[in-house]
């Protein structure tokens, strides 16, 4: 188990330097925008990625290293690295395969395109996008979380944003539930799944494959977003298979604990993978953390955006 205090220290110093918890260069987080058409639309409605899709491949990469040293004397190396992080970008030493990053970028691009295709009018502005601070909150660092929330809220309110579209459960929870409480944010927040559930009509395609659905803990238990993904998938023609433990009883993917204990995280993932894979061949996730943690543990899932996108374009994404 890594020391919570050290993790907090690392997060705080990275965020102070770069605004994101891993201390990554901003340009890395904007790669997904490549090749997208016009980002402008109605300017009071914005797409807010919260950076989770962009960060996940890097989180998984570091977790792979960390799991090797957890509970060994090498843990000290990590604490040394925490010290270093104030001065240099530690990701200089870690390289990510392009294809690992590309998967997550592709999902984000698809979310953007699906929304546009469905007639949703919105703008994406890099300067109005940012990390929600949710990890600070999860680790109990209330004061850092609340000043970060204030910063982001001010940014959004000063830009006269009226509606925010989020793309992952953790950011959705932060903006929808925590920000109003911590920084008085008054802007309407909705996950893109909530929005799509209202606009995607029945019967686009028939006879697409069955998919085993993995509900995210935050969507299902904290935000009551349970029916939306099902409705979307079914309207797209997929047959949704419920695994053992689904909907509000969904089992955790282990992801939220990967920074404290990669070992525990893996064990939890493995038991969920067992449940998912015994329900069918193809599983769908709706959170980058779930997808990333399963991937690290050797189980590939489809992001729900890939399935929706595939359905809209009359083809299914290829099976990895």
């Amino acid at each position: 188990m890594f020391r919570p205090g050290k993790l907090i220290e690392l997060l705080e110093s990275n965020m102070a330097r770069t605004g994101n918890p891993l201390g990554l260069k901003r340009s890395l987080l904007s790669e997904w925008l490549r090749g997208l058409p016009d980002l402008k639309g109605r300017d009071d409605t914005i797409l807010f990625t919260g950076l989770m899709y962009q960060l996940t491949p890097y989180i998984e990469l570091s977790t792979k290293y960390l799991q090797k040293i957890e509970n060994s004397s090498l843990e000290k190396l990590f604490y040394f690295y925490v010290k270093l992080s104030k001065y240099v970008n530690p990701y200089r030493f870690l390289t990510l395969r392009g294809s690992d990053m590309e998967r997550y970028s592709e999902s984000l691009r698809r979310i953007f395109l699906i929304l546009k295709k469905s007639g949703i009018d919105f703008t994406y502005r890099e300067d109005l996008d940012g990390y929600s601070g949710i990890l600070l909150y999860d680790l109990g660092d209330d004061s850092a979380f609340s000043s970060h929330a204030q910063e982001i809220s001010d940014l959004l309110e000063n830009a006269d944003v009226k509606k925010i579209i989020t793309v992952d459960p953790h950011t959705t929870y932060a903006l929808k539930v925590l920000y109003p409480e911590y920084s008085g944010l008054k802007v309407e927040v909705a996950s893109y799944l909530e929005i799509l559930a209202d606009v995607i009509d029945k019967g686009r395609m028939e006879n697409l494959n069955e998919v085993v659905i993995h509900d995210s803990c935050y969507y299902a238990r904290y935000l009551d977003i349970i029916e939306h993904p099902r409705k979307i998938l079914e309207n797209m023609g997929y047959r949704v298979v419920e695994p053992e433990n689904s909907r509000e009883m969904t089992s955790c993917c282990g992801g939220p604990i990967e920074s404290i204990s990669p070992v525990f995280s893996r064990e939890i993932a493995e038991s969920r993978i067992e449940e998912l894979s015994s329900a069918g061949k193809k599983a769908v996730t709706m959170c980058p953390i779930c997808m990333g943690n399963f991937e690290r543990c050797g189980f590939s899932t489809h992001d729900i955006s890939d399935l929706i996108f595939g359905g809209m374009n009359g083809s299914e994404p290829s099976q990895e």
Binding site: G5, L139, G140
Partner: protein, 390 residues
């Protein structure tokens, strides 16, 4: 910001110690397999119970409201309970902390006595068995699983199914140490019955916890499936009940509802035995009310006091499924153990363990009392971090 903190780091955010046993548990397959088996059986039962008896959900909701009322006015209800018990002719004691509870019970029991115990988490909380043994008494757990754990000198792996991690072979070997010889589980169970019968008959004292206490009639309500509580509380001449003050409900109706909810959400409904003890004649009834942090919780931790100790949150928790009761504090374990350990032993007792949670929130969904356990865990993290920042 965080950087300056590190110099003074201590507590929850400092050196991670005391977590070794949790990692050892992780590689202990029998624990995991035992929990899986128990969970499969019990979860199915709970689902069926709730479908077959839909009123149970209604009771649970009603109970939450009633218990909340009591917890918000504990002194009033404690006074009322004490008065009623005294009217009934019981000897009543009040213990502020576990040390004074141990002392009170030790004074009542003395030394050189034989004591039979019903399985009771609250007695684990105050370390009663060891204390009475140190005072020169012979103390026997009379619940089969708890007896096995006692003989094997370990911590119960689940508060209702203490020996779920042990195989039949292991149990046979453990019981041999106290001269109970059987070839299989059934034989052992029969032999244990004979073994304990002798203890019941010679016991000077019976000791139990309490599942619910009715302030209206001054009665102790206890449920069980083995019949050992019935014997422990009625055969010895003197009987001592240790009652956590949060067990008080206003009346018999809610005491009954409380034990029904507890057993249904545990997974055995109806329970095989329901014991209601108002007085002991002939004999003597002693009741020790225990505070031990319960009266001084903050607003968020207070919600944990609504707990009916059904054990549902344990079996559904992804961390508990891997470690058993090893995670969550000295006595209490699992998700509910976070709050309970903080209440009864202080936050420092679980300052690292609270970080080993996914906050996945399943415990909240399955809890009959709808206790927001993830909120409690997060609250304890905040306190640990704040302490470090000081």
């Amino acid at each position: 910001m965080g950087c300056s903190r590190s110099k003074e780091i201590q507590g929850g955010c400092g050196e991670v110690t005391g977590m070794e046993s949790i990692y050892t548990a992780l590689s202990n397959r029998p624990v995991r397999d035992g929990i899986r088996r128990t969970r499969e059986n019990l979860s199915k039962n709970v689902k069926e119970n709730l479908k077959k008896y839909p009123f149970l959900k209604k009771y649970a909701r009603e109970l939450r409201d009633v218990k909340l009322k009591v917890i918000n006015d504990l002194d009033f209800w404690i006074d009322r309970s004490i008065k009623k018990l005294e009217e009934n002719g019981a000897r009543v004691f009040y213990a502020r902390d576990s040390e004074s509870a141990r002392r009170i019970v030790a004074e009542i029991v003395g030394s050189g006595k034989t004591v039979v115990k019903a399985k009771s988490v609250v007695s684990e909380e105050i370390g009663l068995r060891d204390h009475l043994e140190d005072m020169g008494n012979e103390v026997w757990e009379t619940d089969l699983g708890e007896l096995i754990v006692q003989v094997n000198n370990e911590k119960p792996m689940h508060m209702i199914v203490p020996a779920l991690h042990l195989s039949e072979d292991e149990v046979i070997r453990i019981l041999e140490r106290v001269g109970i010889k059987g070839k299989n589980a059934e034989e052992c169970t029969d032999k244990v019955r004979l073994f304990l019968r002798e203890k019941f008959l010679k016991a000077d004292f019976g000791i139990s916890g309490c599942n619910a206490f009715s302030a209206e009639s001054g009665s102790i309500f206890l449920i069980e499936n083995e019949g050992n509580i019935r014997l422990s509380t009625s055969v010895p001449e003197k009987y001592i009940a240790i009652v956590g003050v949060e067990k008080i409900v206003p009346d018999d109706e809610h005491a009954i509802k409380s034990i029904m909810v507890q057993s249904a959400y545990f997974g055995t409904f109806p329970p095989s035995y329901i014991n209601v003890i108002r007085n002991r004649q002939p004999g003597e009834l002693c009741v020790v009310f225990l505070d031990n942090g319960r009266k001084s919780t903050d607003e968020i931790l207070k919600e944990q006091l609504l707990c009916v100790r059904c054990g549902r949150c344990h079996l559904e928790c992804p961390i508990f499924q891997l470690t058993g009761n090893v995670w969550g504090g000295e006595t209490y374990g699992g998700p509910m153990g976070m709050g309970w350990s903080a209440i009864t032993s202080g936050i420092s007792s679980i300052e690292n363990e609270v970080f080993l949670s996914c906050l996945c929130g399943k415990c909240r969904i399955v809890c009959p009392m709808e206790i927001n356990i993830p909120r409690i865990i997060l609250h304890l993290r905040k306190l640990a971090v704040r302490q470090t920042a000081k």
